[in-house]
Amino acid sequence: MIHRIIKQIQRYKGWVGAGAAVCLLTGTYLGLIASPPDYYQGEVVRIMYVHVPLAHTALLAYTVVFAGSIWYLWKRDRLIDNMCHAAAGLGFLFTGLALITGSIWAKPTWNTWWTWDPRLVSFAILFLILAGYLMLRTFLTEDPDRESRYAAVLAIVGFIDLPIIHFSVEWWRTLHQPLSISTRGVSISGELLLPLTIMSIGFHLLFAYMLMVRTQLLYLDELLQAKKGRLLTQMHLSRSQTSP
């Protein structure tokens, strides 16, 4: 059933990609040209239009990995596993970019590249967990079923751990020194909200599109490996054929 649904979705893949492109181009236009600079932050507030959607998309990606992992452990569907793998790779990319853009935003605003803010630390740890997930998958390729199973377990543990990590880092920071700079989000006025919304939609569509492409890529890759394996086996068997 799920295969049929995915086949249906794949049919509209092009539209999702086109939608993402349109949203991102309009969003960039609105964000860089049409919208006014922020009263307090000036021009650098324009970084928000990429940074915030990137962070949201990264969290969405990890949620997809988590939900997909549970689904895989339940149904043992190769395609779902490929989707988890794809989402983790994309989550890694988006988390990394969110950290980089956040750092670039922090420099002119707070005059520092990095601050030990709970959200930043949690994101950095999310980055590490996703890196570990991807490393685990690259080091464990002999048995695909085991690879997927172990990766799913890791994803579930990490997802449950993430709120606890965030919470503990928050406690730890408030205990040590009250934050000298407020890292809470800027109060968003209506003029800033429109480009932010469009960019957000754009990035989510982009994520959906990239997820489809990457899932397809991993699925096809596995299929090709299997095909090569089958060819080799046939050669091996034809050389040692049974004679009745």
């Binding site: 570990g132 685990l136 199973r149 377990v153 543990v157 606890i164 990590i165 503990s168 880092v169 406690w171």
Partner: protein, 225 residues
């Protein structure tokens, strides 16, 4: 009752094996000793600075020591395919997990109990009054490390580059344990009132509870198909 029995047999087997080979404990202790020495050379430890840094140093040493022990835990099962036997034996997988976790917990705790007096001597600590609080911190934090660590030890033992993968996967996950352990140890060593750092005990308790249960359920997926 076969559940409890299976746990007991697992712990018995690990303890007997360890008694005969002394492989895990000896490597843990010597590694920790070297960590302590390297730290004391790296920071010039006068009395005041030591107080501030010490809690962190203690837990870094304990965590890395623990990782040495955890890494060896399932490596012993890999020899002669014993892991395969554990998998196909009718004993509940949860019992195998709990047995392994108990053994790891005991080894780590033993290492900590041996090492802590060394810290006291090397850094001139005065901990007579807070010794019970520190003991509770050690118990709770070690349980947390062992709960996640045993699961991850089983997870990484059958993959390539397992020596690297265990710390890479484990350390980000146990950050709450590390923070809580360091903060409460620091509080106890500085002689602060207990109420100031009692919140960390709650965090440790919650973490232990959640991850013992989660690992208990997930372990079956690691060992079983």
């Amino acid at each position: 009752m076969s559940f409890i029995k299976a746990i007991r047999w697992m712990v018995w087997k690990d303890l007997i094996t360890e008694m005969r080979s002394r492989e895990t404990l000896v490597s843990m202790l010597f590694f920790a000793l070297i960590v302590i020495l390297v730290f004391s050379f790296s920071f010039s430890m006068d009395h005041q600075a030591a107080r501030e840094l010490l809690a962190g140093i203690i837990w870094v040493a304990f965590a890395f020591t623990g990782i040495i022990g955890l890494g060896k835990s399932f490596l012993a099962e890999l020899h002669n395919d014993c892991l395969e036997y554990l998998q196909m034996s009718p004993a509940p997988k949860g019992a195998i997990y709990l047995g392994k976790m108990t053994a790891n917990f005991l080894f780590m705790l033993l290492a900590e109990v041996v090492l802590f007096p060394l810290f006291i001597i090397f850094f001139n600590l005065d901990v007579v009054e807070e010794i019970w609080i520190l003991l509770v911190v050690f118990l709770l934090a070690t349980e947390g490390l062992a709960a996640v660590g045993t699961l991850f030890s089983a997870l990484t033992v059958q993959i390539r580059a397992r020596e690297v993968m265990l710390p890479v996967l484990l350390l980000p996950m146990v950050i709450p344990v590390m923070i809580a352990a360091v903060e409460s140890t620091r509080g106890a060593l500085n002689g602060e009132p207990f109420a100031l750092y009692s919140q960390w005990f709650h965090l440790l308790g919650v973490f232990d509870l959640i991850f013992t249960v989660v690992s208990y359920w997930l372990f079956e997926l690691i060992l079983d198909t």
